[in-house]
Subunit: 357 residues, 2 copies
DNA sequence: GAAGAGTGTGAGAACGTTTGCAGATTACCA
DNA sequence: TGGTAATCTGCAAACGTTCTCACACTCTTC
């Protein structure tokens, strides 16, 4: 077996039948006598035959492979999304080709093109920039695309996103009910859908509660750890200083908490913190972190389900699925809890009025 | 473009040349006159031609795709490993087919078989069980395999692992130098290479320091969060109670810390904790977590590099690369630090003797 | 001005499957 | 016994590339 793998011809030869008969025996279609089938199966087993999916794809025009393009699969958020996709797709016999675009539209276009050349049956993408030409061209060619977590304007594809507006509103409402009136934002890049949406929702929420929009408290970061760290420091220097901050993603929350810790800022007394995206380490912080939990896993599962459905029926109109987030109240905003449960979730927020400063 | 993608024939027809000439023009080999080439390129662009990699693979016998099988890509550890693989492989034009085996040898075998049918050029695997028949068969067929993080006996492949022994020893030594003599273990499953290795190294380390081996302090978990949680509780019930615990992986560390927190156990005064595998949230805990940092990203990069090297030269003898871990001293064992740095690392441990109980 | 090298092009055979079709054999019925 | 249907099998044509070969043409060079 030094060279090229065992082929159907080898199996056929050993079973003393034609290639087509061997194919039928292994493929389980058409007419094959029981004895012949048995002989072929035995030969295949003896030779450790593994059918060549490349050749099959060639004929069938389908590769049974899905492309997944995210910005960074080592970010726990996307890691969970990818896992969700896999859990749905693999049982159906689909493989997953994973690509990391690093928020770089050029890289994204490159990988999309690679996936296209590899003739994946469909692509799940969390687009980096705006109006990706590569995606539009994909769509024009009739290759199914599902957008996940983010959407670019004018791409009529299936998509699944989180209700960012509701999540942000719940976070702000929580702070307000605890008496906060000076709330800052460590937000994401306006270039990205989620960054934009959450910032917009934040501004709207403040307006809704009649709170002042202090521009120096509306910070734009990069969704990375160090960015949260720097912006937390910036916030501490600002005067007047806010009493609470909403951080728009998981990594920046880590950075911000590190910044506050280093500066000796007590949470929640001197600064209340709500994060977007709950993590499994959130309950072991001191105080445990209150955060907007996203259905990350579901995001991926839904994307995969939408894609598979479209593969079944290419004509079905594009659907947009909006998944609800859930505010998980712990103690980083000053809410007092009856107890800490292993899952860290406590259902309803516990309002406990707090004098405004 | 409703049906089947644009093919080389279409391009050739439009450029009024033969298929072979079009192939040469686009492939950049053989003789093609500049004017013809230009004509072909223009036609390809006009038709938005994307060469069919499936057909190419058919001929070349290589798919430019690598298989990666890990137990759970949403575990930050493997997420980083996978990312490392990608960062090396994608620039060379290799795609990554990702599979999650969930520590299930049967699933693992299934996915390996799938990857084999898809004719990946090589496979990077973090094997679940012992002596996987699927892997052996792969090897027999001459398909390159690289084992990462774990190794199964009797599989002469390239491999890259962490020096678990050194990592565990450093952790125990750190505790000992801080005066601990009653050290417990929340270990991984003996079924897994890393679980076994770390437990063995732990026992050896205790012996080396002349500490007692209390069997009820040597706990075996599943490497999952809830397992760490349960075993922490168990440890608290044991009497005498240990003054320190070494937790053998990241997820169980989360569980254990949650358990201690819930029980109101003060760290490090009542229980010192060292974890295996450092995480970016370790410095924001109270107290910041001391942990053995693994070169996760490097693990993946090295695996990919080994695999690519083998694809170049299939005859080269298998290599075993052992990467060094690094103890990152923070405060969860009682070491006092000068300051908290953003990266959380402070280089050398700070010995500060502690009376034994 | 013929041999040879250097260019440019196209025909056609692979690669390993799937599958339509036709031929061969058997079974069944009139 | 002949005819038809049912069952089994093999031939050969796809799929979209790559790449060897053969052929044609243009220059050199003696």
């Amino acid at each position: 077996m030094r060279q090229g793998a065992v082929t159907l011809r080898d199996v056929a030869r050993r079973a003393r039948v034609s290639v087509s008969t061997a194919a039928r025996a292994l493929g389980g279609y058409g007419y094959v006598s029981p004895t012949t089938r048995e002989r072929v199966l035995r030969a295949a087993r003896a030779l450790d035959y593994h059918p060549n999916a490349v050749a099959r794809s060639m004929i069938k025009g389908r590769t049974h492979t899905l492309g997944v393009v995210v910005s960074d699969s080592s970010n726990p958020f996307f890691a969970a999304v990818v896992r969700g996709v896999e859990d749905v797709a693999l049982p159906y016999g689909y493989g997953i080709l994973l690509c990391n675009a690093d928020e770089d539209p050029r890289k994204e276009a490159m990988y999309v093109s690679m996936l296209r050349q590899k003739r994946v049956d469909g692509i799940i993408v969390s687009p980096s920039g705006e109006s990706s030409g590569a995606l539009a061209s994909l769509l024009a060619a009739g290759i199914p695309v599902v957008q996940v977590d983010r959407r670019v304007r004018g791409l009529p594809t299936d998509a699944v996103v989180v209700d960012n507006r509701a999540g942000v509103f719940a976070a702000v409402e929580h702070l307000v009910r605890l008496g906060h009136r000076h709330i800052a934002l460590i937000g994401g890049p306006g270039r990205l859908y989620t960054g934009r949406e959450r910032t917009r929702a934040f501004r709207d929420s403040l307006r809704r509660f009649g709170l002042p929009l202090v521009e120096s408290w509306l910070l734009e970061g990069t969704f990375k750890v160090d960015s949260g760290y720097r912006l937390a420091a910036r916030l501490l220097e600002s005067s007047p200083r806010p009493t609470a901050v909403f951080v728009a993603n998981n990594l920046m929350t880590i950075g911000a908490l590190l910044g506050f810790k280093q500066a000796g800022v007590r949470i929640p007394e001197e600064m209340a913190v709500v994060g977007f995206d709950d993590m499994d380490w959130a309950p072991i912080l001191t105080p445990p972190l209150t955060a907007v939990a996203q259905p990350t896993f579901e995001l991926g599962k839904t994307a995969a389900t939408l894609l598979l459905a479209r593969l079944q029926d290419p004509a079905r109109p594009p659907r947009l699925v909006v998944l609800p987030p859930r505010l998980v109240v712990r103690e980083s905003c000053g809410a007092r809890l009856a107890s800490v449960s292993p899952t860290g979730s406590t259902g309803e927020p516990v309002p406990s009025p707090r004098p405004s400063p």
